[in-house]
Each structure stands twice: as C-alpha cells, then as structure tokens.
Symmetry: C2
Subunit: 388 residues, 2 copies
C-alpha cells in the first residue's frame, strides 16, 4: 500500500474576507500548497474538495469543478460534504485514491464563505448539518445542541464552566503568534465567564466564530516523492472515519462521541500507533466542550476526565500533550469546509518544524487531527508522522 | 487490485413521491440492494451517498449519516455532491475504497427529492449546478444552457429537431415496460415536435422531468463474494472521471464534452476494453442533445455523427447498440442525485438478464454507464462486465 507524503500545505488567513468568493479563497490556498510542494498544477491527478454551505452563502453547489479551475489544476475534481468535517473527509478520500493506485498526486482541501451571511442566516445554514426533521425544524441550533452535551457531561461526570473556560483561554493564547488566526488577543478566565451567554453553559468565548477561509494540501505517493526529490518528511500513516445518528436524540449518550472513537480506533490501527505515542494534536473545538469530548474519544483521557486537562496545564503549550497549538477552531477560526484540512496544514508545519508554535514540540514525531461534523455525527481522524 | 463485484442493486420507482423524504427514499433502495445481494447491513464497511439539492428541498445537508441510518448500516458514510453526477461519483468513490483495500463491502447510491419544490424553485435549485457568478446570476437555466449546446451542434455539424425527437421517442418506447419509470406512455415524433417550446430548439419532450427517487448498489471485493458464495456475475471493471470548467463560456467548444471523453478514455483503459466491445449503454440524456454528445464522448460515433443514431435505429432496442433501454433520464425520470447509481442498477439487471428489456441484449457482456453533472463539467463513466 502506498504511504502518502504531505508534499505541501497552504491556508488563507481565517477571518473576514467579505470581498472574496469560495473560489478566490481556494485558489490562494491551493496555489500556496502547490508552491510549498514544488509540484506543478499539471501533475495533479485528482482533486477532492470540502465545502459545506455554498448553496446558502453563494447559491453554489457543484464546487468540485470550480475548485480545480481555481487551483489551475485540470484534473477530475469532487466535492465532498460532511458538514464541518467536509475537508477532513476530502483529505481521507484523496488519501484513498493514492492508496488505490488511482493517482500519485492529489490536491485536497476545502473552503467556506460565511461572513457574507447575517448571523441569523449563517445559523440557519449551519443548522442544515443537523437533522432537519428532528432538530432544525423544532429550533435546535448548534450552540444549543452542544450546550445539551455540555450539561449532560457536567451531570454525568462533574466539571464546571471554569474548566471549559480554560480551554478557550489556552486556545486564544496559542493563536496570539499565528498570523493565520482570526483572534490573536489573549483572554483570561474572567473574560470567558463574564461574556454574554450564548446558550447556557456557553458564553461567547466558548463558541468558535463565523469565518471565511480555505485550506489545501498536496499528497503524493512515496514513489512520486522519491522520483521527484521532494522534501516531504511528514506522511499520513493512519486514517479513520466514523458515523453516528445525525440527531442527538437517537443516541445512547450525550457525553460520548462514538463516531470519533471509531475513527480514532481505525486511524491508530491503520498507523500502528497508540494514544500514548502522540506528541501533539489538533482537535475540533467548535465549542469548548467539544475539545473535551475529542480528547476522550482520541483515548488520551478516560470518559469524564478530560474536562480539567486545560486547567491543569496538561494540554497547554507547556503541557505533556499540547492541543490546538494553532489556536484551534476557537481562536484560529472555523470556516467550516476548510477546517479539517487546515488542521492537516497546521499539524504538518508543527511536525516539520516551521510553525510559529513549533518550539513547543521540538521533537514531535507523531501528531493527530480530529475533525467532526454536526454534533459528531461524522468524524475523521488522521495520524501524521515524521518519516524522514 | 481488487475487482469489485456488484452483489446487489435496488431502486425506488422514479416519479412523484410527494410524501416521502430523501431518507425514506434511500431506505427503500438500500434495503432492496442489500436483500438482492444477500448481504446483511452489518457487513457494510463504508457508505458513499450522492445527493445534490437537499439544502434546497429539505434544508438538509450532511446527508451521509442520514443515508447510513436509513439503510440500517452502522458504517462511516459520506455524501458526495457532483450535481447530476453525484451518485455516479459515489459509485466511483465506493469502488476506490474497495480497490484501496479499505473495505470489502460498500453500499453506494443516491437519492433526490424534487417534486416538493415548485417548478421555479426546482429550476433555481438546479441552477446551483451551474456557475453562480457567470451563469446562474445572469439568468442561465439548464434548458437554456443545453439549448445553446444543441444550436451550436446544429451549426457545426447539421442535424435537426426531428433527429433529436427520435431520441425522445426511443427512450419513451424503452420505458413502456419498465415499472420503475416515471413515463410509460409511448410518444411519436409529431408529439415531440408539437409540444410546447421550453428553450428553442427544445420542446417539452426534449427535456427530462423533475423526479423523486433513490438508487443503491452493494459492491463487494472478489474475495468477499467468493468467501460468501454470492451470486454476483457482474463486475465494475473500469472507472473514469473527468472535470471541465463549470461555466460553458470558458470552454473551447459547445459541441464537445471533454470531461466525458476523459472519463471514458480512463474507464476503457482501466477495463482494457474498447468502444467496439460495448454491447449496451445507459447514458445521461437530461436533454435529447445530451444523449448525442454522450455517444460521441464514449467513442461510439465521431463528432457530429451521433445526431442521427436514434433516427437510423442504431441505438433503439433492435439496433446494434441499444442505448437507454431503461428509458433513460428522459422517460425513466431524473431525481438528480439518484441517477448515476440508477444507471448502474439498470445496467446490472440488463447484464444479469433480469431486466424487463433484457431480451433486447440477450448475450450482452460489456456495458457502459455515462453520468454527467451540470453541462458536463463533471462526468463519470463505468464499464460493467459479466465475469461469471
């Protein structure tokens, strides 16, 4: 089986790009990834592209061809849509094409435009990731759904708003030096606790923002990397995907995310690594509780035990397992279709040693990304390793 | 490389299902496919699902998890969206998972709900498959775009409305016996020429209808089929995908479909067959001209020569190469996200010998499907063979 090297990565800054379309944003990220890889656009054999809400923000579906055209890549191109996991799944599908021998060079990535929508319209568009019949129609929005999960967690295991506040404080601190991040201002626990309530227990700082942005990566087979003398020390050695019922109400528990557990188990087995081998992680902290659930699903903590991880300093930049050194969705921003591949981009730089926060993990060899869609109805996990 | 067997297929009738949701429709098709295969839902390892306009018709994105749940399959599930080629691409991605060794059993398919929308709203939803900036915003709809292609074809090569009418007459005739088809009434050339104009040169009968429906197939590795004693004589031996600029205006020619040519070339090479080997084809006749362009892209005719094929009887049920024995999109119906895999379902039955029109091709061994998105900005071609 072909092992996929990450030959290059690219990202736009995340935040407000009111004057730029999805195609403009992806063009920038894709061309940066190709340049970083030293691979010409004409060498790309397939494109897999994640976009979630193009129908709502631009009246635009069928974005596969648009993405290829924007990237300057004349290759078959497919849009995959898995809500906020769209580009994580796009990475997985590009990887699968390499492993199947269908291609030696694939361009993967995603883009989202959100800030041209009003907050109401963006909230309604995001609700299309929930079950329209059982959730969206009765009025459940994502802050509401995740607050149900947070309250259930507190009820089952304990934990407090202050615990969650430390997640936000940590991720904002990590974003300060990251010039791709949307929010680069440090905050403290009092800021989080004093912010306006969005949906109890969440205040404003417990929630990731509305963002525009794009991300891309060039994946190549080992043989292509060798034949073309590419400097691509990081490989994707494991991939896993999981799916749960779309509606929260159909699940056994609100405090566990079995789709992410399944994705993590599959990715670890694929890479033949264990949670204890992981040096650094980028996880899907769309809300502060989501980072807690991710750390448990990834096997770093037993259920009920990750809520204090940030507060105890275990996941801060100086902790044993730095999490979301990029700033995470919370502070780096969350243009939903771009998020999964942005995690790949940030983690690749952390492992290569050219990330602004790379000094926090100077000897890191194994990293993990965790990207979720909806209330973790979809999850995709990748293991990245420095393979020299 | 694993060769994928088509272990089972399923389809709802296409047409008006005003009281059924996308999930209901897919549940029916998927469960029929699993029963046809004799494979339990629990054996499925991945699901790939095509849906195009769920955001418009149901306010529903993130349909991967919904599809798996509806099918009773607890497996990772991904929505792919490539406009009217969505489930053709879903078939290709499921096949790729088998070839990569990621799975031995995949459920592929698609579903669409359209008739709950007004004609205006459905037309606007369909326009999301075109370029929002350069086509949809200025007012181009799909009948308009394809009529530009038809008029350009007439200008370049000759051909008449009567030639195209024979395509509609042929496909309606094929649908008469197909109880899954939306229109089962025979029509004649005068009916087509006398119908109200939609967009010159197209009258009503040159256009495929608005439809609801779902399709599914179970693909298994050769080893799984052998180990479980499955009766699965048909294999997908070739796959190809192509992409073109989304907007017609960016193309060199309106009379050729290079995305379909690329997809066909790749699929034939993959299967090691030639156009002359093909016994039967299901092609994407969303408009009558589209069937003509498909036959040329598939290499059955030189450019400019397929327009008379139906009139000459070459592609009728008694012709040398029967095309759209199912009735095609024209008469079977075109629930867009379901169409690509429905072609696989119909062709599998034709090759297995259990299709109502199977007597037209009693010794067929090689078949081809051609599924297109937009104005063939996306195309996917599959070669199916009886391998015993």
């Amino acid at each position: 089986m072909t092992r996929a090297r990450i030959a290059g990565v690219g990202m736009t800054p995340f935040g407000g790009h009111e004057d730029r379309t999805v195609r403009d944003l992806f063009a920038a990220a894709a061309r940066e990834a190709l340049a970083d890889a030293g691979v010409p656009g004409g060498a790309v054999e397939e494109v897999t592209f994640g976009n979630f809400m193009g129908e709502f923000s631009e009246g635009q579906g069928h974005t596969g061809p648009l993405a290829a055209e924007a990237a300057g890549v004349p290759a078959p191109s497919t849009r995959v849509e898995s809500a906020c996991a769209s580009s994580g799944v796009a990475v997985r599908q590009g990887l699968t094409l390499l492993r199947a021998g269908e291609a030696d060079v694939v361009l993967v990535g995603g883009a989202e435009r959100m800030t041209n929508l009003s907050t109401t319209d963006a909230t309604e568009a995001l609700a299309a990731a929930a079950d329209a019949v059982w959730e969206a129609r009765p009025g459940v929005t994502f802050p509401g759904a995740y607050s149900l999960m947070a309250n259930a967690y507190f009820e089952a295991y304990g934990g407090t708003r202050e615990d969650l506040a430390h997640v936000a404080v940590k991720n904002h601190a990590n974003a300060v030096g990251n010039d791709l991040a949307q929010f680069r201002t440090p905050i403290d626990v009092d800021d989080v606790l004093g912010a306006p309530t969005v949906s109890s227990p969440f205040g404003l700082y417990d929630c990731s923002p509305i963002s525009d942005g794009a991300s891309a990566a060039v994946l190549v087979s080992e043989s292509y990397a060798a034949d073309h003398g590419l400097d691509a020390p990081v490989a994707i050695t494991g991939t896993g995907q999981g799916t749960d019922s779309l509606a929260l109400g159909a699940r056994e528990s609100l405090t566990r995310t079995p789709a992410a557990e399944a994705a993590a188990d599959a990715a670890y087995a694929d890479a033949d690594v264990y949670p204890a081998d992981v040096d650094v992680a980028e996880v899907h902290d769309c809300f502060t509780i989501a980072e807690v659930l991710a750390l448990e699903a990834l096997g770093f903590y037993e259920p009920g035990e990750a809520v204090s991880a940030a507060r105890e300093g275990e996941t801060t930049r100086d902790g044993d397992l730095p999490v979301n050194l990029s700033g995470g969705l919370k502070a780096k921003g969350h243009p939903v279709g771009a998020t999964g591949c942005a995690q790949i981009s940030e983690l690749t730089k952390l492992l290569r040693g050219d990330h602004v926060n790379g000094d926090a993990v100077p000897n890191a060899e194994v990293g993990v990304t965790h990207n979720a869609g909806g209330t973790v109805a979809s999850a995709v996990v990748h293991v990245l390793e420095v393979v020299g």
